[in-house]
């Protein structure tokens, strides 16, 4: 019962942050701020949603005994979380570097220190 309530709260937090990411992609003015919304909020929401899946399947695993098929589901959901945590910030860094080197300027920027260091 308590685990169900915790699962609902985690699903609520995860869905809220994913909606914030989707709205932020439309509200922000240029690539770099959109990257801020679209990557960080999605990573945070994904952590909470997958942890909700892990909590629920661990509770089923505990109820069914040690050799339940839920054990595989729990471990693989955890591996999916690790894959998201490793790949999402790296691809955001690659997108930001590629956007700056292809000549996209930040909106309303006054100082661009990275421009002086270009080889």
């Amino acid at each position: 019962m308590t685990l169900n309530i915790i699962t609902y709260i985690f699903i609520g937090i995860g869905c809220f942050f994913n909606l914030m990411a989707a709205i932020g992609l439309h509200r922000f003015p240029d690539v770099y701020t959109r990257l801020h919304a679209g990557t960080k909020c999605t990573t945070f929401g994904s952590i909470f949603l997958i942890v909700a899946v892990v909590i629920q399947s661990v509770s089923v695993w505990g109820a069914e005994g040690l050799s339940s098929p839920q054990s595989i589901l729990t471990l693989h959901a955890f591996i999916a979380l690790v894959a998201i945590l490793l790949t999402n910030p790296t691809s955001a860094h690659a997108i930001g570097r590629a956007a700056h080197r292809s000549g996209v300027k930040p909106a309303q920027a006054v100082v661009d220190d990275l421009e002086k260091e270009k080889p």
């Binding site: 989707a22 994904s46 949603l49 693989h76 691809s91 997108i95």
Partner: protein, 83 residues
């Protein structure tokens, strides 16, 4: 418990798709694609928990790694103009 969350994520995916089609520059579209990929991976994990199928979560892991490689290659293409 799980299916309303998946429907909610599908609505978020539709909102992100609008940015993917509208985006003024190419990096904007790439940001939309990256966000869409993360949402799809989370939806696959939740669907695997909803139907109690482990194979959906395995597909989600492979999709996450392949979309990472795809994003890196498109970013390199935007950066240089050629591979």
């Amino acid at each position: 418990m799980w299916l309303p969350a998946v429907i909610f994520l599908a609505v978020c995916m539709l909102i992100v798709l609008v940015r993917l089609f509208l985006g003024p520059t190419h990096p904007d579209r790439l940001v939309g694609l990256d966000t869409l990929n993360s949402l799809i991976v989370v939806s696959m994990v939740i669907l695997g928990a909803a139907f109690k199928e482990v194979i959906y979560i395995d597909v989600a892991i492979v999709y996450a790694l392949l979309s990472f490689v795809t994003t890196l290659f498109i970013a390199k293409y935007i950066e240089k103009g050629k591979f």
